[in-house]
Amino acid sequence: MDIRVTNHSPLNIFIVDDDPDDQELLLEALELAGLTCSSSTFADGQELLDQLQDGELPDLILLDLNMPRVDGQTALDRIKSSARLRRIPVVVLTTSRSEADVDRCYELGANSFITKPRSFEDLLDLVETLGDYWTRVVRLPPH
């Protein structure tokens, strides 16, 4: 596929998930998918918001919903209500596929909502599709 856009590389991806096993699987899938990216992990929405307030900004955020302290929807709302942060693409990646969650996340401005597959094989396929799309097809906003 030679759509190849000139995004600044390597891409900086933030993974927000309270389950260390899920974080680990996602990181492994990203590596196996051969994406040239650097990634940082956060255990909940509060950790993410703290980083976004003071630290380096990511190119893409993969956001779980059910997390302690600050959940994914609250974090999403804060990001998409902020003039400084709202341009950052947020992909909600969660085990939930409840109608209320999907609708609410799109209303809050999620760039996409994806249900996390159960098997590692399917997760690998998903990460490949996701990675291909956001790193090779889409033009990301400049920082």
Binding site: M1, D2, I3, V5, K80, A83, R86, R87, I88, P89, R97, E99, V102, D103, Y106, E107, G109, N111, S112, F113, I114, T115, P117, D122, D125, L126, T129, L130, D132, Y133, W134, V137, V138, R139, L140, P141, P142
Partner: protein, 154 residues
């Protein structure tokens, strides 16, 4: 991956250039994917189409930026502020590569931004990837499904 594949994906493409509209139509049909395409020529005709509540809500919109009457950024802003329409995935598909247009589009709430390929073969690849991501992978808002079912559309 998701459960939205039960009927042809309904896609609206908005572009003022008739040649580009033809290319999009040809490229999409060349993918052989089950899709239903509606071609519109500017933001104003898009808004009229979407505001007609007898018409089904699209699964996604491909939106050019530079168009007469109402440009893509204005249409994007209106859709993303509209309570019934704001959840529709909007992919900007444009020749513009200016940082300003990219940033503005994301600020206004576009779901992603893609540069229009020059080569026809690349456009066919792109249509395949768009379908793979937006139709086969991503969950779609249920609000839209409910409206469509209410209309008995599809």
């Amino acid at each position: 991956m998701n459960s939205n594949n039960r009927k042809p994906a309904y896609i609206i493409a908005v572009d003022d250039d008739p040649d580009d509209r033809d290319m999009i139509e040809m490229a999409l049909s060349e993918t052989k994917l089950p899709t239903r395409l509606e071609l519109l020529q500017d933001g104003e005709s898009l808004m009229q189409h979407l505001q007609d509540t007898t018409k089904p809500v699209p699964d996604m919109i491909l939106l050019d930026i530079n168009m007469p009457r109402m440009n893509g950024l204005e249409a994007l802003a209106q859709i993303k502020q509209h309570p019934r329409l704001k959840t529709i995935p909007i992919v900007m598909l444009t020749t513009s590569k200016t940082q300003d247009d990219i940033t503005r589009s994301y600020q206004l709430g576009c779901n992603s931004y893609i540069s229009k390929p020059v080569l026809y073969e690349t456009l066919v690849d792109l249509m395949n990837m768009l379908h793979q991501y937006w139709i086969s992978t991503v969950e779609h808002p249920f609000i839209q499904k409910a409206i469509d079912e209410h209309l008995g559309a599809g």
